[in-house]
Symmetry: C2
Subunit: 519 residues, 2 copies
C-alpha cells in the first residue's frame, strides 16, 4: 500500500472536500473548530445514510423470518456493562509524554515508530517495547510513560445522585438484556433474531481518518439466537448456499503477510465454506452470503470485499470464531462488518449478574436452552464512506461525480427548466411538485445553464435529470438524462412517475424509458 | 382533574401493562431492575415510533419547499452549549434532605406539599417558601437544605484529556451551528428550514410518569429560518389559512384557573388567529395549522388539542412568543410540541461566541440579514404515548384493543390459517410471504383458535386479518376481517395486496374490499 499512500490520502481528502461543499458530512460544531471524532451529516448525507439503513432493514429484518427490530436507550446502567465485560476489558493502551503531556494510543505509536503490529500485546509488553526500542514522544522527543489501559466508554452520572452509567459502546447490550421479554412478547421460537440500529459511543484516544473512526457512530446489529444444536441447520440456508463469498482464512493470513496481504483469498460458495470448515458454523455462512449481497447492492465491487477470519489473538476468549467483512479502500482493507459467533457468553453473563433465568424453549414450550448467538454488526458511517469512495468517478468529465446505485441515491431526480422564462419554470415546478407528491426524493434547479446544473447534479450522484423545454409546452414531453451514460430520451410527462420508478428499481433499461435523442 | 385521578392513574398503568406484555415499551435494562427515565421500545413500539416519525417527515420535510433534514452528533462540545445559554441556565431547582440525603425537585415538592405552582420562581424564593411554610422531607420529615440549581445536561469527558462536552439537551443546536454551511451547500434562499430527529438527554432529578418524562428521548425539530421582514408572509399560508386551530390565549388563562382550565379555548382559522394577533406572526400560524393536521392524522381528536400561549413568566427572555401544543391525557394537559419564535437569538449568540458571521442573503445573493427562527419541537415518545392512550379501547369486547389509524398501525395485516392441517398453514404462509415481499408490515399466527388470534391482533391494533380456510383452497378467496367493525368480506388472493393498500391508505371503505360475509 505504501506506494499508493499519496494518491490514497488524496482520495479521502477529495471526498471530504466534496462532502463539506455539498452537504454530505462536515465536522460537528464546525464554526467552533469541530471536535475530533464527531461529524454531522447534511441533507445529502442524511438521505444516503437513511437509504443504506433502509436497505439493511430490508435485507436483515423485513425479508427474514422471526427477526424483529427494537430501539433501546443509549445510556445504560453500570450493571449491564459490568456483566458484559466492558467495564473491565474495553480499553485501549494509552501512553503519555512525560515532558509535553501529549497522550497517544500506544499500539499506533509503536506501529508508526518501528512498523510493528502490536495490536493485541499487553500493556506490559508495550511498555517493554517502548523502553527496549527507545521510542520517544513524536511531538517533542520527550520520554514516554508506562503504557496503561484507557477506558473507551464514556462515563455518565445519572440523576442528582450521579449513579454511574455509560453511553453504550455497542447496541448489542440492549438486545441481550431485553431478549427474554421480547422473545416472550413475540411468542418466539428459535432461531429468533433481534435487530437494532442506533448510536454508540467510544472515547477513542485520538481518532483520525474522518468518518472511518468516530467517537459517536451508528451501528446496525442483529443478534441471531439459535438453539446450540441447530447451529448447522439454518432454516433458509438453501436459499443462499450457491452464493459466492470471499474468505481470507487464518492459514492464508499466516502464509501471507498478515492482514494486509491480498493474495490467499478464496472464492467459495456458502455451501463450500461450510463444508470445508472455513466458517465456525452454517448460521455464520448464511450471514456471510447475505452480507455479500448487501454490500454489492450498495455498489461495492465483489473483488473489493473479503471476510477475514480473525486470528486467535484478535478473538475474544468466549468467541467461537469471528469473521470481519473488510472492504478495500484507499486507506487499505477496513472492517465494515464484524461477524461474531458469541456462543452463549452474553446471555450467561447477564443471567449470572442479574439473577434472572434467560433460558427459553426452542419450540415455544417444553425443554429450555440458553441460545447461542451469531452477531453481524454493521457500521453505518463506514458503509456510507465505502459507498462514497467506490462510487466516486473522476477523469471522464470536467467534474468529479458519484455513480450511486439509483436505489440508494440521495436525490433520485432533478427537475430543470431549460430557460428562466416563457412559463418554463412554472411548468418545471409543476412537474417537480408532482414527483415530490409521488414520493420521489427530488430537487428543482434553475440557477445557471442546464450544463452547469447537470454537473452539479452529477456531483451529488443524481441518476436522472428531467428537463422542461419549449417542446414540453407543445407536446407534453420532457427529456430524461441518464447520469451514467449522459444519454437522453424523450418521455411523456404523464408517464414520468412510473417510468422513473421503473428506472430506479432497475426494471427497465434507460433506452426503454422513452425515445432516444441525439445530443 | 382531581376526581378522575384514580381512573386516570389506571389508564396509564393499563397501557404500561399492555406495553410490557406485547413488546411496545419496557424499562431499559429491566432484568437489572431498570433505571428511572429510560425505556426501550420493543418490536411493536419501534414500528409505531418509526411510522410516527415518517408521518412527521412527510408533513414537515418532504411535502415542504426548501426544508432539509440533517443528522448531527448527540455529543456537543462545551462552547456550543455555553453560547446557547444551556450551561448557565438549563437547570432545575434541587433540594436535599439534611437527614436522609434524599434529593427532590423543589418546585414539585412545594406543589405537592402546599399545592402552589412555583415552576418559575427563583431558587431563593423557593428556599424562602420551604422555610416559611415549614415544609419537611416527605420521606423522613427531616429538615430540607436551601434550594440550589441543578444542571440538567449530562456532562461528558472527551478524549484522554477529558475535554468537557455535553449530551445535547435539544437537537436544535446542531442545526444552528450547521446552518450557515448547509444554507450555502443547498444554495439556499429564505425562508429555509432545517429539520432533525434524534436523541436528546436531560438529567431530570426524579423522572416519573413513564415515557412522558424521560432522561433520554427523541425529538423531531424544525428550525424555520425567515427574513425578519417576511415573518407575516409565509409562502404557503394560503394553503392552510382556513384550517381551524384551538388556541388557549394568555387572557383566557388569566381569566380561568391557569393552565389546567379547559374553558376559554377559542376555535379559529389560522387566518383569524393571525388577524386577531392570537399568534406572534403568520409563520407561527402556519405551523399551528400543520401541527393540528398532523396530530389528528395520528388519531387524536381535535377537541383534545389546544395551543397554549405560554405566559410571560414561562417564556425565555429572548422569545417573541411561545405556543405549546398540549394534548389532553389521563394525566391532564401535556405539552407535546413546543412552538418557539426564537427571533435571532441563537444565530446571534453563536455568531458572537464563534466569531463567525452567520448572516445570509435572503435571495441567495445581495444584502445580508440574520434570519429569525420559528421552531416547532416535537417529542416522539410523547406523541407515541398520546396515540396509545387515545387509541385505547375497552369495554366493548372481552379484550382491550388499540384503534390505531391503519397508516400508523405497527402491524398492518395478520395472516391466519383456520386450521393447522390440510395444507391451510402452507397456503397461509405463502400469502404471508407475498404480503411481506410487497412491503407490508405483516405477521403470521397459527397458535390457538382464530378467535383467540383475532383478540391478540386487536390488542396490538392490527387493522386487518386475513384468514385462509377450506374455501381458499377451492376458489382462491380469503376472508378479511376489519378490526374496528369486526365485519368480514371475502376477497380474491390475487387482489389482496392492492386491496389492502387501498384500505390502509383510506382510498376505499371496508365494504368495498370484497363480498360481505355473514358472521
Amino acid at each position: 500500500m505504501a506506494s499508493d499512500s499519496k494518491k490514497n490520502k488524496n482520495l479521502m481528502e477529495k471526498i471530504s472536500d466534496v462532502a463539506a461543499r455539498r452537504g454530505i458530512f462536515f465536522p460537528t460544531a464546525e464554526i467552533y473548530g469541530g471536535t475530533a471524532g464527531f461529524y454531522d451529516w447534511g441533507p445529502i448525507g442524511s438521505l444516503l445514510r437513511r437509504k443504506i439503513i433502509e436497505t439493511w432493514r430490508n435485507f436483515f429484518v423485513k425479508s427474514e423470518d422471526n427477526v424483529y427490530e427494537i430501539d433501546g436507550s443509549a445510556i445504560l446502567p453500570y450493571g449491564v456493562l459490568k456483566a458484559s465485560g466492558h467495564v473491565d476489558h474495553f480499553t485501549d493502551p494509552k501512553v503519555e509524554c512525560k515532558k509535553c503531556s501529549k497522550v497517544f494510543r500506544a499500539d499506533h505509536l509503536i506501529q508508526e515508530a518501528i512498523g510493528r503490529n502490536v495490536e493485541r500485546a499487553s500493556v506490559e509488553e508495550m511498555s517493554k517495547i517502548i523502553k527496549d526500542e527507545k521510542i520517544k514522544c513524536p511531538k517533542c522527543e520527550g520520554e514516554l510513560s508506562d503504557v496503561k489501559p484507557f477506558p473507551l466508554m464514556f462515563s455518565i452520572g445519572i440523576g442528582a445522585e450521579k449513579a454511574q452509567g455509560f453511553l453504550r459502546p455497542e447496541t448489542a447490550q440492549n438486545i441481550f438484556t431485553a431478549f427474554k421479554r421480547v422473545f416472550s412478547t413475540m411468542r418466539g421460537t428459535l432461531p429468533f433474531g433481534l435487530a437494532q440500529t442506533g448510536r454508540v459511543y467510544r472515547n477513542e484516544i485520538s481518532p483520525r481518518q474522518g468518518v472511518i473512526r468516530l467517537r459517536e457512530f451508528t451501528q446496525m446489529e442483529v443478534e441471531f439466537f439459535v438453539d446450540p444444536r441447530q447451529l448447522n441447520n439454518h432454516p433458509r440456508f438453501n436459499e443462499i448456499k450457491d452464493i459466492s463469498i470471499r474468505i481470507f482464512s487464518r492459514e492464508a493470513q499466516e502464509r501471507g503477510k498478515g492482514s494486509d496481504a491480498t493474495e490467499g483469498v478464496v472464492d467459495v460458495t456458502a455451501q463450500e465454506a461450510f463444508d470445508r470448515k472455513l466458517v465456525p458454523n452454517q448460521c455464520v455462512a448464511y450471514y456471510l452470503a447475505r452480507e455479500t449481497l448487501f454490500y454489492t447492492t450498495l455498489g461495492i465491487p465483489r473483488e473489493k470485499l473479503r471476510f477475514r477470519y480473525m486470528m486467535p489473538e484478535e478473538t475474544p476468549h468466549y468467541s467461537g470464531g469471528n469473521l470481519d467483512l473488510e472492504v478495500e479502500l484507499s486507506l487499505g482493507w477496513k472492517e465494515v462488518i464484524g461477524n461474531a459467533y458469541r456462543t452463549d457468553y452474553d446471555l450467561k453473563s447477564h443471567s449470572k449478574a442479574s439473577g434472572q433465568d434467560l433460558s427459553v424453549s426452542p419450540l415455544g414450550e417444553g425443554e429450555r436452552v440458553i441460545p447461542h448467538v451469531i452477531e453481524p454488526s454493521f457500521g453505518v458511517e463506514r458503509a456510507t464512506y465505502c459507498v462514497l469512495e467506490h462510487c466516486y468517478r473522476e477523469g471522464d468529465r470536467d467534474w468529479a461525480w458519484f455513480q450511486f446505485p439509483p436505489k440508494i441515491a440521495p436525490i433520485e431526480v432533478i427537475v430543470i427548466p431549460l430557460m428562466r422564462k416563457d412559463k418554463l419554470p412554472e411548468k418545471a415546478k409543476e412537474i417537480y411538485g408532482t414527483l415530490k407528491e409521488e414520493g420521489f426524493d427530488t430537487m428543482y434547479d434553475e440557477k445557471g445553464s442546464v450544463g452547469k446544473i447537470y454537473a452539479r447534479a452529477d456531483e451529488i450522484g443524481i441518476p436522472y435529470a428531467v428537463t422542461i423545454d419549449y417542446k414540453t409546452l407543445e407536446d407534453g414531453t420532457v427529456t430524461i438524462r441518464d447520469r451514467d451514460t449522459v444519454e437522453q430520451v424523450r418521455a411523456k410527462v404523464g408517464e414520468l412517475p412510473l417510468t422513473l420508478r421503473k428506472l430506479i428499481e432497475g426494471e427497465i433499461k434507460f433506452k426503454e424509458a422513452g425515445t432516444p435523442q441525439k445530443r
